[in-house]
Amino acid sequence: MNTFTADRLGGLPDTGQPWGVQPIAGYRRPNQAASVFWRRARRKQWEFDDRDRAGGGPTAIVKRGVRDGLWAVGVGVLVAIGPHSSSKISVSAVCGALAFGATLAWRHRYPDARPRVWARPPTLFWVVLAAYAFLLSAVSSWLFGEYTHGIWWNGHGLLVPLAMALLTDRILRKDIQEAPADADATSVWGVAVVAAGCAMVAIDCGIRSQYLSLFGLLSCLPGFSLALLGPRRTRLLWLPLLLGLFLMPIPTRYALDLQLPQLISRGVVEIMGWFGFSVVRVGTAVSLPAGGFNVSEDCSGFAAFYASYAIVLVLAVYNRSRAKIALLLVAPWLLAVAVNVPRGTVLLLGANYFGMEFLGTFWHTASGIVAFWLMVLPLLLLADRATLREKLG
C-alpha cells in the first residue's frame, strides 16, 4: 500500500467559481462517482487559492511578494551566471538585473492565478533531496564549467532543468484534470533504479569519467518518479525525464565529424570571394592579409546545434505533421551552417580591418550569442501549436 490518501488528490478547477480564479481550459469532469469528493476537495483548495494567491490579506500579499521575489532572483541569477549574457562581469550583472526587473514586472502584471496542485512533500523528502544534491557535488564543478564557460560549450545546460520542471508541472497539472480519482500505486522498482544510478556514481569515483556519474544521477530521476509518484505518472513524464539527457555535456570535438568547421570556413571563403576578397584557407583557418582566424570546433555552432535537438525533441513529440518532424530533424545542422557562415564572414572582416584584437573583444562573444539564438528560435516556427496547447495546456 502506498501512502496516498484521497484528500491529497483534490484540487480540480471548475468553471463558474465565484472566487475569480481562472479556470484551466479543457477541463472535463473525470467521473460522476467522485463528484462529491471532488467538489469538497476543490472548494477547500480554491478557498486556499483565494486567500493565498488572488486574495488580499497582508500575509497573502507578503507571501506573494516573497514568491515573486524568489522567482525574479532565480531568473536574474540564471541570466547573470549563464553564458547568454556575455563573459564580462559588468554586462552579465546588467543583464541579470534587467532579467530580475522584467520577471518582477511580469509576475506583477500576470499573477500566477492557477490553483495550487502540489501537496506539501513529507519532511523526509527534503533530506533525500539534500542527499541527492550532495551526490551532485561529484560533478558540479565540471557541469558548472561546461554550462557557464561560454556560449561555445553547453550554453543550454542551465535551461534544461528549468524546461524539465516546467514540462513536469504542465503534464501533471493536465493529468489531475483527467485522471480518475483512484490513488496511484508507487513502485519499489524505483528504489532499485536509484540504487543502480548510485552504483554508477560510486564506480565513477574510481574512473573519474564524470559522464558515468552524471548518467547515474540522471538515471536516478525515473527511479525517484517511480518510488514517489508511481509508474503511471512516470510513464506520463517520459519526455521531461528523457530531456534530462541533454544535461550531458558533449565535447565540441564532434563538430569536425559533423563537418561544421569545414563547411563554415569554405562558406566564408566563398562569400568573401563574391566581394572581391582573396582569402587563404588552410584546413579550417581562414585569413586575409591583415588578419584571420580559425573556425574552431567551439566557433562552429556546435553548442547551439546540440541545444537545438533538446527543442527538436519537445517539438517533434508534440507534432502531428510528419513533414514538420522530418524538417525539425535536419534543421539544426542546416541552421548551424546558414547562421555561422555570415557570422564567420563578419568576424573575418573585423579581424582584417581592426586587427586580430577584434577577436578578443565583446563583439566576438556577442556574435556567438546572437548566432545561438538565431539557430534555436527559428525551430519554434515548426511547432504544432494546436497539439502543444492540447497536450500541455
Binding site: F4, F134, C205, G206, S209, Q210, G223, A227, G230
Partner: protein, 203 residues
C-alpha cells in the same frame, strides 16, 4: 493534489547515503593521487633544450593539476597532468589547441630504451602546408595511446586507493609540405626524450 508518497523515502535515503561515502572520500576529503616522485620536474621539459619558452600553470582548472606549455622552433608542446582522464578518452584530446585536425589519426610505435611508446599521429597537408601533431600518454608509469580502457580496468583499485594522474605529452606544428616527414621525426624525437625525462624524474 499531486502528492509525493513517503513509503520508499527511507530506503531511497539509505541508498543515497551509501553512495555518498565514496563521493565524500574522493571529492571532499581527497585521496592520495600522485605516482611521480617529482611532478614539478616535468616542467623542465619546457626549459631544457635551450630554445624553449615555457608557460606553467598549476590548477589550470579543477580537472588539470599541472599544465605546462612551451614552444620549440615554431612547434608548440603541452604537458598536462590530471586525475580526470575523461578529457583524454577520445582520439582528439579536449581543449588542446593544435589537435583540431580534420584527418584520420594513426598510432605509430616508437622504441626508446627498450620501451615501446604508442604515439598517436596526425599528418595533414593542404595548400602546400603540412600540419603534424602527435601525443603520448602515461598512466601508472606505462606509456599508452588511450586511457579509457586502463581507467575502467583500474576503477576498483582507484576507488579504494585513490586515482592516479594521467600525463599527456603532445606536440604539434606547421611546416612546408616537403619537410613534413622531418617535422614528424623531430616530434617523435622530442616525445622519446620526454618519455626518458619522465622515467628519470618520476620513476
Amino acid at each position: 493534489m499531486i502528492g509525493l508518497s513517503d513509503r520508499y523515502l527511507a530506503p531511497l535515503l539509505a541508498v543515497l547515503l551509501l553512495a555518498a561515502v565514496p563521493v565524500t572520500a574522493h571529492h571532499w576529503v581527497g585521496m592520495p593521487n600522485e605516482d611521480c616522485a617529482d611532478p614539478d620536474a616535468m616542467r623542465s621539459l619546457a626549459i631544457g633544450g635551450g630554445t624553449l619558452i615555457g608557460e606553467f600553470r598549476d590548477k589550470y582548472d579543477y580537472a588539470i593539476s599541472q599544465y605546462t606549455r612551451g614552444e620549440k622552433g615554431g612547434a608548440r608542446f603541452q604537458v598536462v597532468r590530471s586525475v580526470y582522464p575523461q578529457q583524454f578518452f577520445g582520439e582528439r584530446p579536449l581543449h588542446m589547441p593544435g589537435f583540431q585536425i580534420d584527418a584520420a589519426s594513426h598510432i605509430e610505435v616508437l622504441r626508446v630504451d627498450g620501451a615501446e611508446l604508442p604515439i598517436r599521429v596526425w599528418q595533414r597537408t593542404e595548400m602546400g602546408i603540412a600540419h603534424v601533431a602527435a601525443y603520448l600518454m602515461i598512466y601508472r608509469g606505462e606509456p599508452m595511446a588511450s586511457v579509457l580502457r586502463p581507467s575502467v580496468r583500474h576503477a576498483f583499485d582507484a576507488l579504494i586507493h585513490g586515482p592516479l594522474p594521467v600525463t599527456f605529452i603532445g606536440i604539434d606544428g606547421y611546416g612546408p609540405a616537403p619537410v613534413a616527414e622531418d617535422l614528424r621525426r623531430e616530434f617523435f624525437g622530442w616525445l622519446g626524450a620526454a618519455w626518458t625525462h619522465y622515467r628519470r624524474v618520476c620513476g
